[in-house]
C-alpha cells in the first residue's frame, strides 16, 4: 500500500504519529517524515491517521 501526504496541506501537527507511529514521525525540526510504501498489515493504523489528520492531508493509494 502506498501512503501519500499532500505537503501543501500538511501542517506538521503530528496527530498521525499517534495513530501509526511506525509510519509517521516528526523529525528534530518538527517536520513530518513518513514511509511511502507500507505493509498491508498497517492499513487500519494508516486509515486512522488519515481520519484524524486536522489538515486532511493523508491518503492511501492502493
Amino acid at each position: 500500500m502506498k501512503v501519500i501526504v499532500d505537503r501543501t496541506k500538511c501542517d506538521n501537527h503530528g496527530q498521525c504519529t499517534f495513530s501509526a507511529p511506525t509510519v509517521f514521525r516528526l523529525d528534530d525540526n518538527g517536520i513530518l517524515q513518513y514511509e511511502e510504501n507500507v505493509d498491508e498489515s498497517l492499513r487500519d493504523e494508516v486509515e486512522e491517521a488519515s481520519d484524524v489528520c486536522p489538515a486532511q492531508a493523508i491518503r492511501i493509494a492502493d
Binding site: N12, H13, G14, Q15, S19, D28, E48, D51, V52
Partner: protein, 397 residues
Amino acid sequence: MTTELDIPYLDIADPSFAMHSQAVRDARARSWVAKTNYGYAILRHEYVSKLLKDPRLRQGSAKWPEHNGVHSGLFYDWWTKCLLVLEGEDHHRIRRLLNPAFSLKHLEPYLPRFEELADELIDSFLPSGQVEFVNEFAQPYATRVLCILLGIPESEWPTIARLASTIGLALGITLEQDLPAVEDALAELYGYAEDLIRDRQANPGPDLVSRLVDANRNGDSLSDDELRNALCLLIFGGMDTTRNQLGLGVMSFMQHPEQWELLAAHPELAPAAVEEVMRTNPTTTWVTRETVVDFDYEDLHIDAGTTVHFFTQVSGTDPQAYPNPEIDITAERVGHYGFGGGMHHCLGHFVARADMSIALRALSKKMTNLRINGVDEWMPDSGNTGPVLLPLAFDAR
C-alpha cells in the same frame, strides 16, 4: 542581534489592551515577537506556524491552579490529569484513544440533527425580527450540540450550560475565591459523565460515548476515570468556545454584509466562512505555551520556563501570509491557528467546524440586514473573547 530594546512591549494585562489595535499591528510590522508582562508573544504567521509545534515548548496551562494558590482538591486533580495539560507519552496515549471518535466520519450521523436544531432555534425568533444572539441562539445551540453528541437529553441543556460556565470561572484570575463553586459544578458534571459511561457500558450503541467506552488499542483502553475526565473536558472546552465563536462570526459578517449575502447565495461556502471568521476574529486570541529548555531562536534567547503566547488573530491577519487580510469567503488561504496546533491541536475541531458551518449557513439563509439593536456587551479583546450580550435586529427572508 536582537536586543531587548529592539523588541516591542505589549502590556497584555492592561484592561484596555486590544488585539484589534494599531499598537498591536505596529508591533507586528516591527517584529515577529513582542515582550509582554507574562513572557513573549509571537505575532507573525510564519513564526507561529514554526514555533507552535516546536518540541522545545509545551502546553502552558499545567501550573495554572498552582499559580493561583490551588494545590489540591477535586479541580486540581482533574486539571492536572486533563489531556489539555498532559505531555509526552501520558498525553499521546490518551489522545490516540480519543482521536478516532472525533473524526469526521463518526460525526456525520449527527449532522442532520444539528441542522434541525439550528432551524428550530432560528424559527423561534424569526417572526419577531429581533434576537439576543448569545442567549437565544449561540448558547443553546452550542450546548445542545454537546448534549446531542454525548446522548444527554437536549432538555437538560440549561444545566449543562450552567455547569460549563461555572467551571469556566477556573480560567479567571479569581480562581481561588471561585474554587468552591467550580468544585461543586465539577462534582455535578462528574455525576453526569459517570452515569453516561455506566449506561453505555450496559447499552452500547453507535454513539460517541460508546465509541470511547470501546476505544482500545493493542489491549490498552481508557479507564473509567480517564473517560470521565475526557467527557468533562469536552463539555468544558466545547461550550463557551463555540458560543463565543458564533457571536464573533455574526459580528464579523455584520461588518462585511456583502460577505453575508455571498454566503446566503452560496451555502456551499459555509465551511470557508467558518475558517475566515476564525482566522480574522477568533475566540481564542492567544494559545499559551511554555519553554521546556533554554531556547535560542533567530538571535532571541528565551529562558526555560518562560510563557510564550501565540497570537492567533494577529498572525491570522498578518499581511505577509494574507496579502488581503480582510474576510473573503471565496479566497484560497493558508491555514490559521484558531484551533491551536501541534500535539495539543483542538480535539473537537471537526465538531466545531461542522456545527458552526451548519449554524452560519442556516442563519444567512433566513436572516438579512443584521444590525445591533440596543446595547451589546463584550469580554475584553484578549485571551478568550466574545460577546456577552449581542442584541440584533434583522429582516427575515
